[in-house]
């Protein structure tokens, strides 16, 4: 299996060097670049072409949340994993809606961190209970886009997805959710993935709507 190429954005020097060290020491992962800010992010991404981008949320200048769409603009296939010391739900939710595929707490143990990177590459999407609550609230209150220009797929959550989100809200792990619903963890993961997609789509939709409105205005 080819190595997963990583690019890392983190303004704290100690952590950046430490994580770089860790990634270097881990087979299967390759650190292409570690940067302290996102000022030249489009250049760097275009040049380095990573598979996964580790993004710290609090960066000087352009914040990590704002940088996510920039990454996705260069190549939508790149997965962005947000790193944060603290799970500030609003920011994380915003990052997810901008296109991030998941997040991790910085104080997660290094092994878990590495495992999450592999997991992400494989298609998983980590989600915690608090984020799940926000997701639920979002889908409960999101207005249905009324324009005809959009595809007619349903951008609401399906019942299965809703069950999963509710389980996440209750604080269950993927394992327990799977056991509860009678599905495998992988199925849970893929459901979560599609939830994220729907979130992004919704966010995209709103962006389009906003642009249209602005054009009109």
């Amino acid at each position: 299996m080819p190595d997963i190429n990583l690019v890392y954005y983190e303004d704290n020097r100690e952590l950046r060097e430490g994580l770089a060290f860790l990634v270097e020491a881990t087979p299967g992962l390759k650190l292409l670049g570690a940067f302290g800010n996102c000022h030249n992010l489009p250049e760097e991404i275009r040049t380095l072409r990573p598979d996964v981008v580790l993004m710290d949320i609090d960066l000087p200048g352009i914040s990590g949340i704002e940088a996510v769409p920039l990454v996705k603009a260069v190549s939508p296939a790149i997965q962005v994993l947000m790193l944060t010391v603290f799970d500030d739900e609003d920011k994380l939710f915003q990052a997810i809606r901008n296109g991030a595929s998941g997040y991790l707490l910085k104080h997660t143990s290094p092994s878990e961190l590495l495992a999450a990177i592999f997991d992400l590459h494989r298609g998983g999407s980590p989600m915690t209970a608090s984020i799940a609550r926000k997701v639920l609230l979002h889908f409960q209150s999101a207005p249905v886009p009324a324009t005809q220009q959009l595809p007619t797929e349903d951008y609401r959550l399906s019942t299965r997805e809703l069950d999963i989100v509710k389980g996440l809200v209750a604080g269950y792990s993927y394992k327990l959710i799977g056991a509860d619903l009678g599905i495998s963890i992988d199925t849970v993961r893929s459901h979560i993935r599609s939830i994220y997609d729907k979130l992004q789509v919704n966010s995209k939709t709103e962006a389009i709507l906003k642009a249209m409105r602005e054009k009109l205005v």
């Binding site: 952590l15 430490g18 010391v85 603290f86 104080h107 608090s130 609550r133 792990s173 394992k175």
Partner: protein, 1007 residues
């Protein structure tokens, strides 16, 4: 020739009139005057002019000053040397004339002034002679107004027509200019004007500017018979002229003034009035008397001054007369003050009785008895001089000579016309035919008489059977036989030995004879054979008074017995059963009632020591009359006598009063109400219908008057300040004061009633506006409130901003912690882990050390997480805590394969917790779960969170091995938990026993 005859007869008549003897001792007092002088506040006694303004005030011009009279008070106006005052204090004769606009035109010795009686300001009418700086020719004639409303007056050299509104004048020449004399113009018909000038009367046509000589002596007609002194307008286009020969009236057919009645007098003033049959009559004021002339009967009636009678004509020269047609009052201005004839207030006629001997006191008149045959002849009994004849028609009182000696008490007249008189020594009888007295002394043979002697007879009664009953002073009831001159005592059932004085005798309609004595009331049967004592029977204790204080009684036409006692009058039936009691409480003001009489309406009249009472037995209402109504006295000690026409006579000291009860006139005119003064903070303000008070003006005094001049002291008032007073306040005072009224609009309503209680309910209204001080205005209050609200909002916002700042601070701390510490801690872990991997082969012992570093870092990181989490402001809610708890619990238990369930009450209440509460609650939970996971060795961990109201219950149960409470207490762990519980006002309890699992229960009260 004819003229001579006429003159001769007039002269004879004159002589005849003068030769008539004046009746001696007689006083005509059918008309009474009320008098006002400087003692009542008038500026000067010499009254020259009288007028009434539109509001109803009486204006009195004198030789020194103008007065406004409201019935009780005089307000004096004098020259003030300002342009807005009077030009002079000397008001000329008849010099006040009201116009239709409400002004008063005042002719003074220094000119004519248009006076505004409401604003109390005058305006001088400028005339040429005022500019010559000579004061002797400034006087003008009084103003007269024609039918077009234009005023006419004359100065010494011109005739003027003036517009009362604009003061524009048109001047006309005079027929003659007489030095120091002012002619008098009087508006006539068709725009013409009479002009009377020094003896002659002219008619002036203003259009053609021509004078037409009418009558009288002037330079071109020196031999004219009449020398006219006065020209007086009457009503309905009548004019009167007065010359020495008497009163003349203008005859439009003959176009001359024709003499009315013949009399020679010096007329000073004249006014037309209405006679008794409605025909025009006149009052003529001369020097020394006031004369009433009735043109129908062509009779003159003189009213002269009498020094004893304060109600007589004041005397002096009458210069002004004012007749008030509505009330019938005649105002008389004389040089001795102001007087008024008030037919409505002086209700009682009076007759004075003077003793021919001036050294004697005036005695009491006891009886006034109408003669049997002659209606106009009365027998008047006084103590001394005794018996008098009163010829009412001629107002003549003549004493009957040789009366019996001693005091005379009572009289009756028998069928033959003889007058029987009871006196100290018995009886005397007078025969009018022979004019001779006969003495009939009374001797008694009764054993009760200690010494045979004369018996004083105080009461006489001639009953239907023509028997003469005598009431004695000490021997009770006697029967006298005139033929045999015999007296018998009628035995009354009394205690023997006690003197029995008779107070009164009356025969009722059934012929029974009633006798009130000092020992009780007795009733003799019609046949006089039976006698019964009548006692009063009543249920109320007030009536049980001794018989001895019963003063008089009356049997009325309904067979009611009225009996008076001390402070008490009762109405009873003829057996003594009391029906009504009258005392002070229901209107009887008297202590002693001396006389009771009934009039044709059934009203009961009481002569008492405290005014004359009139009682209506159907309404039980009293009315009171005293000297102010024309009675001679306020306390009456005699009883009534009545004549056949229903008039009542009551004797008093020095005279007697008489009246016809059914004809007592009431003043039906509701009085106009006027404001006399407005004072703010005791400073006068011009009187108008509104007053405005500025802030700082606290006291408002309003003086008012009811313009009823008839017994003005009996006027009553009521006032109400709408917006302040809840109801009407009655008062006798003529002012009302309000202090410290709150800002706003008010209306002061004033009502008044006249002397006979007839109310003017509309009255006067004064609008009062109290301006708020700046701090009382609505604007200020709104501003204050707005400022207050802004201030409050400002404080609130400040606090919000502060809290936001605090929140910001908290967030900043979190953020800072977030970045630096968290990141660095993570790096420690990472490095440590990497080192572990690298050293795993070479130095395995070091791995555990490195692990400890790593663990420390991660614990530190986790604690920091918790700190950050708790101080993060957007995690205030209970749901957030629960979510975190769940995460933690699941994470910890999943690793150890412990089944973790967490139940929360549904529906989940959204409570807000403080930082303290969140922290402690979470930490209690965390530590308990930690303990359970680490030490309990359990398979199931159950957490329950129950919120009911404000109480939170956290229950953490495991099915592990439990522990011994007593030994575990010494450790820090449990006490820590207890402290944490206390910090959030909660209680934690541990239920555990070895092998029985553990249950940790927390009960806390949330805010």
């Amino acid at each position: 020739m004819r003229n001579w005859k006429h003159l001769f007869y007039s002269f004879c008549l004159l002589l005849a009139l003068l030769a008539l003897p004046q009746p001696a001792g007689a006083q005509t007092s059918e008309t009474s005057f009320r008098r006002f002088t400087t003692e009542q506040g008038m500026s000067r006694d010499e009254v020259t002019a009288l007028a009434r303004d539109k509001r109803g005030f009486l204006w009195v011009g004198t030789l020194n000053g103008l007065n406004r009279f409201d019935g009780a008070q005089f307000k004096v106006f004098k020259r003030t040397d300002s342009a807005a005052g009077l030009p002079a204090n000397h008001v000329l004769t008849n010099g006040i004339t009201p116009d239709s606009l409400g002004y008063l035109w005042i002719a003074t010795i220094r000119g004519l002034c248009r006076f505004d009686p409401v604003r109390e300001q005058g305006q001088l009418v400028p005339l040429p002679q005022l500019r010559d700086q000579l004061a002797d020719n400034d006087f003008v004639s009084p103003v007269g107004f024609d039918s077009a409303g234009q005023g006419w007056f004359a100065s010494i050299d011109r005739l003027y027509r003036i517009d009362p509104r604009t003061l524009r004048r048109t001047a006309f020449a005079l027929p003659y200019v007489i030095p120091n004399e002012c002619p008098l113009p009087v508006p006539a018909t068709q725009g013409n004007v009479w002009l009377i000038s020094q003896g002659a009367i002219y008619l002036f046509d203003p259009v053609r500017r021509r004078y037409q000589y009418v009558q009288g002596q002037d330079l071109t007609h020196p031999n004219a018979p009449e020398y006219f002194q006065r020209l007086v307008p009457g009503r309905q286009q009548r004019w009167y002229a007065v010359a020495q020969q008497g009163v003349f009236q203008y005859d439009a057919a003959q176009q001359r003034f024709v003499a009315e009645g013949a009399r020679n007098f010096n007329v000073q003033a004249m006014v037309e009035t209405r006679g008794p049959q409605g025909q025009p009559a006149c009052w003529i004021g001369t020097s020394g008397r006031l004369t009433y002339y009735n043109p129908v009967s062509k009779r003159y009636t003189d009213l002269v001054h009498s020094p004893d009678d304060m109600h007589s004509y004041p005397g002096g020269i009458t210069l002004a007369l004012l007749n008030d047609e509505r009330t019938g009052m005649l105002w008389v201005g004389t040089t001795r003050g102001l007087a008024v004839i008030d037919p409505l207030s002086n209700k009682f006629k009076r007759q004075f009785v003077r003793s021919p001997d001036p050294k004697r006191y005036l005695e009491d008149v006891r009886v006034v008895h109408q003669d049997r045959k002659h209606d106009s002849l009365y027998w008047v009994l006084t103590n001394q001089p005794g018996l008098m004849r009163w010829q009412r028609q001629h107002q003549q009182l003549t004493p009957v000579l040789d009366p019996p000696p001693g005091y005379l008490y009572d009289l009756v007249q028998d069928k033959q016309g003889q007058v029987w008189v009871g006196h100290d020594g018995g009886l005397a009888v007078y025969s009018p035919a022979t004019r001779r007295w006969q003495q009939r002394p009374i001797w008694l043979k009764a054993k009760t008489l200690a010494v045979p002697g004369k018996v004083a007879i105080e009461h006489l009664l001639l009953d239907r059977q023509e028997q003469l009953w005598l009431g004695s002073a000490a021997h009770g009831l006697l029967l006298y036989d005139p033929k045999r001159n015999q007296t018998t005592v009628y035995p009354l059932p009394v205690e023997a030995g006690e003197a029995c004085q008779v107070h009164r005798l009356q025969e009722d309609r059934r012929g029974r004879l009633w006798v009130l004595t000092s020992l009780g009331l007795f009733r003799l049967s019609a046949d006089r054979k039976q006698v019964q004592r009548i006692r009063l029977q009543a249920s109320t204790p007030t009536v049980h008074q001794s018989d001895r204080v019963q003063s008089t009684f009356l049997l009325d036409q309904h067979d009611n017995l009225w009996l008076s006692s001390l402070g008490l009058v009762v109405q009873a039936d003829t057996n003594g059963r009391v029906r009504h009691t009258y005392t002070m409480a229901n209107g009887l003001r008297a202590d002693y009632t001396y006389g009771l009489a009934e009039d044709q309406r059934g009203h009961i009249w009481l002569a008492t020591d405290e005014q004359l009472h009139e009682l209506d037995p159907t309404t039980h209402q009293f009315r009171y009359y005293g000297r102010s109504s024309g009675l001679l006295v306020n306390s009456m000690y005699q009883t009534f006598t009545a004549n056949r026409q229903g008039e009542l006579f009551i004797g008093a000291r020095g005279g007697f009063n008489y009246f016809q009860p059914v004809q007592l006139r009431r003043n039906q005119v509701p009085p106009p109400v006027a404001l006399t003064e407005i004072r703010v903070n005791n400073r006068p303000r011009p009187v108008s219908d509104r007053v405005e008070l500025q802030p700082g003006e606290q006291t408002l005094t309003v003086a008012f008057a009811a313009l009823n001049f008839s017994q003005a002291q009996k006027n009553r008032y009521a006032y109400r300040l709408e917006g302040f007073d809840s109801g009407w306040t009655s008062t006798d005072a003529r002012t009302v004061t309000y202090t410290n009224l709150a800002p706003g609009h008010y209306s002061l309503h004033i009502r008044a009633a006249n002397n006979d209680g007839v109310w003017n309910l509309t009255g006067q209204t004064l609008t009062v506006r109290v301006q708020p001080a700046y701090y009382q205005t609505l604007w200020f209050k709104i501003l204050l409130a707005a400022t207050g609200m802004v201030a409050l909002w400002g404080i609130y916002r400040y606090r919000q901003v502060q809290q936001l700042q605090l929140a910001g601070v908290r967030d900043r701390i979190a953020k800072d912690l977030h970045d630096d510490i968290g990141s660095t801690l993570s790096s420690i872990r990472i490095f440590s882990e990497v080192a572990q991997v690298q050293l795993a082969d070479a130095h395995p012992a070091t791995v555990s050390l490195l692990q400890r570093i790593s663990t420390n870092a991660s614990t530190l990181a986790e604690s920091m997480q918790d700190i950050i989490w708790t101080i993060k402001t957007n995690h205030d809610g209970l749901p957030d805590v629960v979510t975190r708890m769940r995460e933690f619990g699941l994470r910890l238990t999943e690793a150890k394969s412990i089944r973790f369930t967490m139940q929360v009450t549904e529906p989940f209440p959204a409570l807000r917790l403080s930082v303290e509460q969140r922290r402690n609650l979470y930490l209690i939970f965390k530590e308990s779960v930690n303990n359970a996971v680490k030490y309990a060795d359990c398979t199931h961990l159950q957490v329950q969170l129950i919120v009911s109201g404000r109480q939170l219950q956290l229950l953490i149960e495991d099915d592990g091995c439990g522990f011994d409470l007593t030994t575990a207490r010494t450790g820090n762990g449990l006490s820590n938990l207890e402290t944490r519980a206390r910090d959030i006002r909660g209680q934690i309890t541990f239920t555990t026993a070895p092998g029985a699992g553990t249950a940790v229960a927390l009960i806390a009260l949330l805010a």
